[in-house]
């Protein structure tokens, strides 16, 4: 080396010698690494070369999502990460994970190899990891779980809305993993749910929306879920078999195991039960990008629609709720038999005394009675002791009558919930009010109103989360905000011999109302009401309510007006695609700006296709002394 230094003096010589020394040191240290046979270093190097931390599957397993500055995991529990920067640095987490596999201080399920089984299996495959070179770890708990569940196929379970609870229209989703048993009751079901102890409704809602609850995955035998949704909550259950392969299902279970006892902040709107399940499906089949498809809110039924769109659904089964079964059996009985059933349940008639000429009828009466006794117990109308006695009594008498006929309790499968209209709605309207033409446009975020076709939804139910209407009346002031719905909930639920629900409604938001001087102003309103509904073949579903209405703002005397009054309505399904709504009410505003108002509306709802419908509204209204007629034609587009 000295041969090249001539003419450049000491400095150059020193630099060259320094470089030489570094070179020697580097070569030595690499051989030291190689000499130590650090298998971990080899794996780390290969992982880096293959850029595994950028792999789609690593992104799926760690729930990384793009942010403005990089990526961040949606999992909030720090125990999910082996690196302290794991939630923001895929690379650090990968290094920490591989390093973790070499941990020697643990040998049971708390070892990273066992805690993060999905990561381990994937990295083992990608890097051809020789397991014999790793420290021993025995993942007993995982193996026990795996042998209990024996994952073979997956079903997406959708408990639909329950009667008299329109908020449940959004539905819920859980995943059922089927194993070797023929009976599906023995499968295991996993749900993502918020760990919430509050009973105060407002606090519950607030914490749920803003992520103050921790969400966990739980796993239970499927029969527990059936008891919860079918029996206790009276919800029909829909089961959608997904076409995931056994290998894919296995991968899903591995990832599910990684998330046990790991929390994430539960956000009612977007990071909710249904959204979180999508990660499970992506873990099974990473080529699917379901979690990227959703924006500021995720409605469970929409996640089902997304899966269908990806071609994941291969079969569908319907599991009617206890309420549906009761209604069905009751419909098979004539009035006398229904009265006998009530008698048995009320214990005014002993089961043995049931007199029906047709033994088949007697069977139905006792079957219905036993369901009703269970229903009453679920509703806490019977003590446990009463229930045990009554239930056994009826079953004892029932057991002497033999089996029911084969086709007897076959319930007609209703329209699948995902086949109903889409959750959001855009409306274009043309109308004539008080002689002036107008054009109107309305956007509704979610989800179902009486003015929508009922297919796939519960009749008489309405739930609106945010809608905005803008109207242009050229002859009268031009463009204005016609209305803003914050929340509307309506539940019209018919009473019969067996069920006696109270119908109710709550509406709040802003709308245009006529003032004393005949002008229209935008005011805030809050309109709750309650009453009774009934159903018969001639009229359809008809109801009576008493409502109150608080109007604030505008040109009201004292700036408000508070009133009370009766309303009545009819909802009549005329054909499969044509429904008629009639509604009339009157309010006596006694406080604030004292006045009366009246309204009568006749609305036709015509279903053009799954996501298209028409409304034709004819209305007459009178506020203060001002009478108006209105005709409106709406075209609704759902998406």
């Amino acid at each position: 080396m000295e041969l090249f230094i001539k003419g450049y003096g000491c400095l150059r010589a020193s630099i060259s010698f320094f470089i030489f020394l570094i070179g020697i040191t580097y070569i030595s240290t690499t051989s030291v690494w190689a000499a130590e046979g650090s298998y971990l270093d080899l794996l780390l190097k290969t992982a880096e070369e293959k850029q595994l931390y950028r792999d789609r599957y690593w992104e799926v397993l760690l729930h990384y999502k793009k942010t403005l500055t990089g990526v961040k995991s949606l999992i909030d529990d720090p125990r999910f990460f082996l690196s302290s920067y794991g939630n923001k640095s895929p690379r650090n987490e990968l290094v920490a994970t591989l390093t973790g596999f070499f941990q020697e201080d643990k040998t049971d399920d708390s070892h990273p190899r066992c805690r993060f089984v999905a990561r381990y299996e994937w990295l083992k495959n990608e890097l051809n990891i020789d397991e014999s070179q790793l420290p021993l770890a025995s993942c007993k708990e995982f193996e026990e779980a795996h042998s209990r569940i024996r994952p073979k196929s997956v079903v997406l379970v959708f408990p639909a809305a329950y009667v008299n609870g329109p908020a449940s229209t959004f539905g819920h989703t859980l995943i059922r993993i089927d194993g070797d048993y023929q009976s599906k009751l023995l499968s295991y079901a996993t749900t993502y749910a918020a760990y919430a102890d509050d009973t105060n409704g407002i606090l519950y809602a607030f914490k749920g929306i803003f992520g103050y609850y921790k969400g966990y995955f739980t796993i239970l035998p499927y029969y527990e879920k059936i008891k919860e949704y079918n029996d206790l909550e009276q919800r029909d259950i829909w089961e959608y078999r997904l076409n995931l392969t056994e290998d894919e299902v296995s991968k899903m279970l591995l990832h599910l195991w990684e998330l046990r006892e790991i929390y994430s902040d539960y956000y009612f709107f977007d990071e909710n039960c249904s959204y979180s399940l999508l990660f499970m499906i992506e873990a099974a089949r990473p080529s699917l990008r379901l979690t990227d498809e959703f924006g500021p809110w995720v409605i469970p039924i929409d996640t089902l629609r997304a899966m269908k769109k990806e071609g994941l659904v291969e079969a569908i089964e319907y599991r009617p709720s206890k309420g549906t079964k009761i209604r069905h059996i009751a419909s098979l009985l004539d009035e006398r038999a229904q009265i006998s059933t009530i008698g048995v349940v009320a214990k005014t008639l002993r089961p043995e005394e049931v007199e029906e000429s047709d033994p088949g009828e007697k069977i139905k009466v006792l079957d219905l009675a036993s369901e009703l006794i269970q229903y009453r117990y679920n509703e806490k109308e019977l003590t446990k002791e009463e229930y045990q006695k009554d239930f056994l009594n009826v079953l004892m008498a029932r057991s002497r009558l033999g089996s029911p006929g084969d086709g007897d309790y076959r319930i007609q499968v209703p329209l699948q919930p995902e086949e109903g209209h889409g959750s959001s709605r855009l409306t274009l309207g043309l109308g004539l009010k008080g002689g002036d033409f107008y054009q109107e446009i309305r956007y509704r975020a979610a989800q179902h109103e009486l003015s929508d076709p009922s297919g796939g939804y519960i009749e008489g139910s309405e739930i609106v989360f945010f809608s905005m209407t803008v109207r242009n009346t050229p002859a009268d002031g031009g463009v204005r905000l016609e209305g803003l719905d914050i929340i509307n909930i309506v539940s019209i639920s018919p009473r019969d011999r067996f069920f006696k629900p109270t119908s109710w409604k709550v509406k709040t938001g802003f709308l245009q109302k006529t003032m004393a001087d005949g002008d229209e102003n935008l005011i805030y309103h809050l309109n709750p009401g309650g009453g009774f509904a009934f159903k018969n073949d001639k009229l359809g579903l008809y109801y009576f309510m008493v409502e109150t209405d608080l109007n604030v703002g505008g040109g009201y005397k004292n700036s408000y007006s508070l009133g009370i009054g009766p309303s009545l309505g009819v909802i009549r399904e005329i054909t499969e695609f044509w429904k008629m709504n009639l509604f009339a009410n009157t309010f006596y505003y006694e406080l604030g700006d004292n006045h009366k108002s009246y309204k009568v509306i006749a609305q036709q709802v015509v279903r053009l296709s799954q996501n298209n419908s028409l409304n034709l509204d004819l209305s007459w209204m009178r506020d203060f002394d001002v009478e108006q007629n209105e005709v409106k034609l709406n075209w609704n587009l759902y998406f």
């Binding site: 779980a145 209990r148 329950y162 008299n164 609870g165 908020a167 449940s168 959004f170 539905g171 819920h172 048993y181 023929q182 009976s183 009751l185 023995l186 295991y188 749900t191 749910a193 918020a194 760990y195 919430a196 009973t199 105060n200 409704g201 519950y204 749920g208 609850y213 966990y216 739980t218 796993i219 035998p221 029969y223 527990e224 008891k227 919860e228 206790l232 909550e233 046990r260 006892e261 929390y263 539960y266 909710n272 039960c273 249904s274 469970p300 036993s370 269970q374 117990y377 446990k384 002791e385 229930y387 239930f391 056994l392 079953l395 004892m396 029932r398 033999g402 089996s403 909930i489 109710w504």
Partner: protein, 157 residues
């Protein structure tokens, strides 16, 4: 003195531990009919109505346990070691009773599968169980383990 103190602490911990364990088997108020009622019925209060149902709150255990806690119940004597069967009967005794009275049903099929009753024998077995309902569900307070034992007795008779 130190030994007494330590024993007292250990005893105290065990008692609270037991109390906690008893508390966590939340809805297991027995091993017979009507016992495994899960949680509250759908709450109709308006506040909760507005937003609750898709939050699907869980209170009590955030559990990854695969069972719903049936360890308090006694086990049958005529079938030993069939843990899944015991769990199933304790949790589904009501629908099982109904199915046996009717002579058919999903819970009954499930129980038959867990007991290893072959498909071709089931129809006869179900008829036999239905005919002997009162020997199986001997009283209102009958417990799951007794039901299983009675069923085995009837089938073998």
């Amino acid at each position: 003195m130190k030994k007494v103190l330590i024993s007292a602490v250990i005893f105290g911990m065990m008692s609270t531990g037991a109390a906690f364990a008893a508390g966590t088997s939340q809805s297991n108020t027995g091993c017979g009919l009507g016992s495994m009622l899960l949680g509250e019925a759908a709450n109709d209060s308006l506040g909760l109505q507005l937003l609750v149902t898709t939050t699907n709150g869980i209170s009590g255990n955030a559990t990854f346990g695969m069972t719903s806690g049936t360890s308090d119940c006694k086990t049958p004597s005529r079938i030993v070691g069939n843990e899944r069967l015991n769990e199933f009967v304790v949790s589904n005794i009501d629908s099982l009773a109904k199915d046996i009275a009717m002579g058919r049903g999903e819970s009954l099929d499930t129980m038959a599968e867990l007991m290893g009753v072959s498909a071709d024998k089931r129809e006869a077995v179900y008829a036999q169980l239905q005919a002997n309902f009162s020997s199986i569900f001997t009283s209102e307070r009958v417990e799951a383990a007794d039901v299983v034992d009675n069923i085995v007795t009837v089938i073998n008779s």
